[in-house]
């Protein structure tokens, strides 16, 4: 039944667009539990904390860490930490105290609880749950900063939760009277120990993992195994040392992703990705189902209206207050402000989930007399947040957004110019350096480049990364030169020079090649070709229609084909899909066009006469060694070898032509800018990189708009399996 339900819900995307999958799963769990109970009158399976903490939670957290967009995460780390630590403490304290206060007033009736019990309960119910957050935000597409803040918060608050929980648990065990000031201080200290210790463990294991993958060149089959085993080890180690295990495995994933992705071979990378998604997805499903099933256990049910209602009220209200206050403080320090709608999403999206449930199930009945009450309340709270808030958050967000925008059908001019404005704004954002220069970040990227990467990345990966740098440094220079050289040759036959026929001109796209990448790329090519034809036909037909409909046609065409501005691209994290960046196509098109223009203008301002010879030599060398990265590009030498006076200033300018380090870790990242969209951390992982733009290809680039093919040939012709890797990130490795 589990399998069936899994299949069913994954298939019914339409349903999940409205109802978050987690909610459906819980309901299903309830249903199943109900069946079992009705049949046997016993509660069958329950979600035991052990199973949860040791088997179900780690994959999800690892998945989150491994695919975490690092740049964004660390860029917003301050904000995230504030919400995670202060926010959680605030939530726990206020909820606990308020409940206690209400209890004192007698509304709840007679309960065998003390202040400490309330605080304990507060601490476990306060924490925002990463599983639930992810599950719900999957459907709600919020902007990336908001997402990373809520998500980061949900991950990092684990340390706080663990500490608070343990501290209050031990206080409860000791008895309220025996708690001294020293114990409180110890509690605070333990927070730092737990969180920093957990992080440290994570980092150590990340280091270990990266190091291991550096040397696994000859044991590719078990490469993926290492990733999972070592990450899980980090979790277990932290757990063993009573440190924050979630933090450990999160940071393990976060820190190792760059190196591991660079080091392991493609097939392993794909395996790792798919397996991780599978495990995480499976765990999540199981968790929610079990939540549902466990609820059907009449033994534990204790109903206390006041308590339950008040808990719900308090956690919501205090979360809102907490978020508002913190945001107000943060906005003074943040460059990108958090607006009202962000705050609404943050407050409303603070879901509680299985972690709270597992923690409450861990309570010792003898120490906490009212455990059942807590359990029931927790279940209800979790259900409420996941189901109700999960269901309503999407409409809420849409309603809020819609309120701001207009409803008129925009005119043609408005569409066009509006879009133009968006592009202009993006460009100005980029020029003015939106994120700004961060001293720390630069320092880190220097450190990383000089030391860490040398230690942790395979030689080949390092080289390829450097190559990309060099390649792109050389891009304008070489291609412009050859462009010029070609012009000098004057004659289309010049294209077919011996050195070029190696690979470029006569590449047969239809030949199937072993690599999976290539297959998908040539599929892409074929697919594009056919889609072009279809479109053209469709367009042709439309053109023949009467004048009146021309307007609609024009609108439609514009709508469909106008390039999208940056904000619309982003869909950061998905549990169930490996994100394909559809806007790669757009990026590629624009990129080619831009580069071509730049080269043309470069050519017209500069004629390189001495270069062609040197260039040919290096090209020959390049192409001969397409597959071997080690010698790939003597590019690096070319400008320095070139003392030609007319190159001076321009040449230097070319040093950082297309893509130089604009910010942080990403000199190589920046290059194929679309790489930064998804896995912003990874350089072209394909160790076998090679000169992506061979000038010869460039020549073949006929008016770029004629057909998709020329664009693709531009991209692909030079060894389809190589080039795309430089450009198409992991998404093509399906």
């Amino acid at each position: 039944s589990l399998i069936l339900s899994l299949l069913f819900f994954h298939l019914s995307h339409k349903v999940t667009r409205v109802v978050p999958e987690s909610a459906l799963l819980i309901v299903l769990g309830l249903f199943l539990g109900g069946i079992v109970w009705a049949a046997d009158h016993i509660a069958s399976f329950t979600l035991t904390p052990n199973v949860f903490f040791f088997y179900l939670l780690p994959p999800i957290v690892l998945d989150a860490g491994y695919f975490m967009p690092n740049k964004l995460f660390f860029g917003n780390l301050g904000t995230i930490l504030l919400y995670a630590v202060i926010g959680t403490v605030w939530n726990a304290a206020t909820t606990g105290m308020s409940l206690y206060g209400v209890y004192l007033s007698g509304i709840m009736g007679q309960l065998d609880i003390g202040l400490l019990d309330f605080l304990l309960f507060g601490s476990l119910i306060a924490a925002v749950d990463p599983v639930a957050v992810l599950a719900v935000f999957e459907e709600v597409h919020v902007n990336e900063v908001l997402f990373i803040i809520v998500f980061g918060e949900s991950l990092l608050n684990d340390a706080v939760t663990v500490v608070l929980y343990n501290v209050f648990d031990s206080f409860v065990a000791m008895g309220a009277d025996n708690v001294t000031g020293v114990d409180c201080v110890k509690g605070i200290v333990s927070f730092f120990v737990v969180s920093l210790g957990g992080t440290f463990v994570g980092i150590v294991f990340a280091f270990l993992l990266s190091l291991v993958t550096r040397f696994t060149k000859h044991v590719r089959i078990i490469e993926p195994g290492f990733v999972f085993v070592i990450s899980y080890l980090s979790y277990l180690t932290a757990e063993m040392l009573s440190l924050s295990a979630i933090l450990a495995i999160t940071f393990c994933g976060v820190c190792c992703q760059k190196y591991v992705k660079a080091n392991i071979c493609d097939q392993s990378s794909t395996t790792v990705r798919y397996t991780m998604k599978m495990l995480a997805s499976g765990s999540e499903t199981i968790i929610f189902m079990f939540l549902g099933i466990s609820a059907v256990n009449p033994d534990i049910w204790t109903w206390n209206t006041a308590f339950i209602l008040l808990t719900l009220v308090f956690i919501s209200v205090y979360r809102v207050i907490g978020v508002v206050i913190q945001t107000w403080v943060l906005n003074h320090y943040r460059v990108v402000q958090l607006e009202i709608i962000d705050q609404v999403v943050m407050s409303y999206g603070g879901l509680r989930g299985a972690v709270a449930f597992a923690l409450v199930a861990l309570l010792d009945e003898k120490k906490v007399k009212e455990k059942n009450l807590f359990v029931s309340t927790t279940i209800i709270v979790v259900f409420f947040t996941v189901i109700f808030q999960g269901l309503t958050i999407k409409p809420l967000v849409q309603w809020l957004k819609v309120k701001k925008s207009e409803h008129r059908e925009p005119k043609l001019n408005e569409k066009l110019h509006g879009r133009a404005f968006d592009h202009i704004l993006s460009a100005v954002e980029d020029i003015s350096g939106q994120i700004g220069h961060n001293y720390l970040r630069d320092k880190w990227s220097n450190f990383d480049r000089k030391i860490l990467s040398k230690v942790l990345m395979r030689r080949s990966a390092q080289k390829s990364r450097d190559q990309i740098l060099n390649i792109f440094h050389e891009l304008n220079l070489k291609d412009a030169i050859s462009y010029v050289a070609e012009g000098e040759r004057r004659g289309s036959l010049a294209f077919i020079r011996s050195s070029s026929t190696d690979n470029m001109v006569n590449v047969d796209f239809s030949t199937p090649r072993p690599s999976t990448v290539e297959a998908s790329v040539s599929c892409l090519l074929r697919e594009k070709a056919s889609s072009v034809c279809l479109d053209m036909q469709a367009l042709e037909q439309r053109r023949k229609s009467i004048r009146d409909t021309e307007d609609t046609v024009t609108h439609h065409t514009l709508q469909q084909y106008l390039y999208k501005p940056r904000q619309e691209h982003i869909h950061l994290y998905s549990r169930h899909e490996i994100i394909q960046n559809e806007d790669e196509k757009q990026d590629k098109e624009i990129f080619h066009r831009t580069m071509r223009k730049r080269l043309e203008s470069f050519k017209s301002t500069k004629l390189g006469i001495n270069q062609p010879k040197k260039l040919n030599k290096s090209h020959k060398r390049d192409r001969g060694q397409k597959r071997r990265n080690s010698n790939a590009i003597p590019n690096g030498k070319i400008p320095s070898e070139n003392p030609a006076p007319d190159f001076t200033l321009k040449e230097k300018g070319i040093d950082n032509p297309a893509f130089s380090a604009d910010d942080d870790q990403s000199i190589y990242m920046k290059f194929p800018p679309w790489l930064t969209d998804e896995d912003s951390v990874v350089p072209s992982q394909r160790a076998r990189v090679q000169l992506p733009y061979s000038p010869n290809n460039f020549r073949r680039l006929t008016p770029f708009r004629l057909s998709n093919k020329s664009v693709d040939s531009f991209l692909l012709a030079d060894g389809p399996e190589e080039r795309p890797r430089a450009f198409l990130p992991e998404t093509t490795h399906m």
Binding site: L412, L425, S426, A427, G436, L539, R543, V553, Y563, K670
Partner: protein, 194 residues
Amino acid sequence: MGCQSSHPSAIPELDEIMLETGFSQASVVRLYDRFQALDKEQKGYLSKYDLQGIGELAVNPLGDRIINAFFKEGEDLTDFRSFIRVLAHFRPVEEGKSNETGRPEPMNSRLRKLQFAFQLYDQDSDGKISRDEMLQVLRLMVGIQVTDEQLVCIAERTIQEADQDGDGAISFEEFATSVEKLNVEQRMSLRLLK
């Protein structure tokens, strides 16, 4: 590329810049840091290559045009003053500020923003967006699947829609009218630049 914050006194003409552009000192300092970071060889000027070095611009359809907007006609280098002048257009509009007569139009007013955009379309600076210029812009902004004939159609329709005096080209006034319903102040403002 270690970027420690520049000291305000290191920035030439700081006061004039602040007056002219309306930026706060902190913003000017920040932009100066940015300017210096982009200026890889510490020339004191930015060349087109420096700006082209920003990766994202290469995948922005209007990237190169915007780069060119920073440079005066025929020149290849731009200094900090000119750099920040362009960016001044994108400062968010302060609300509730009355437009006192006699004061020059602030650089980030709606008018100025529109003028900036207009100048991106109007490459030959004749004050009008001709059909060709419109076509060029459309070509930049639209996917390659759209054929030239399509594009001509779209360009013509666009001009028709906006052209009020029937001269087959869009003047600045017509342009401004055609986008009057758009929230230009918001769409062409960077929250970052205050």
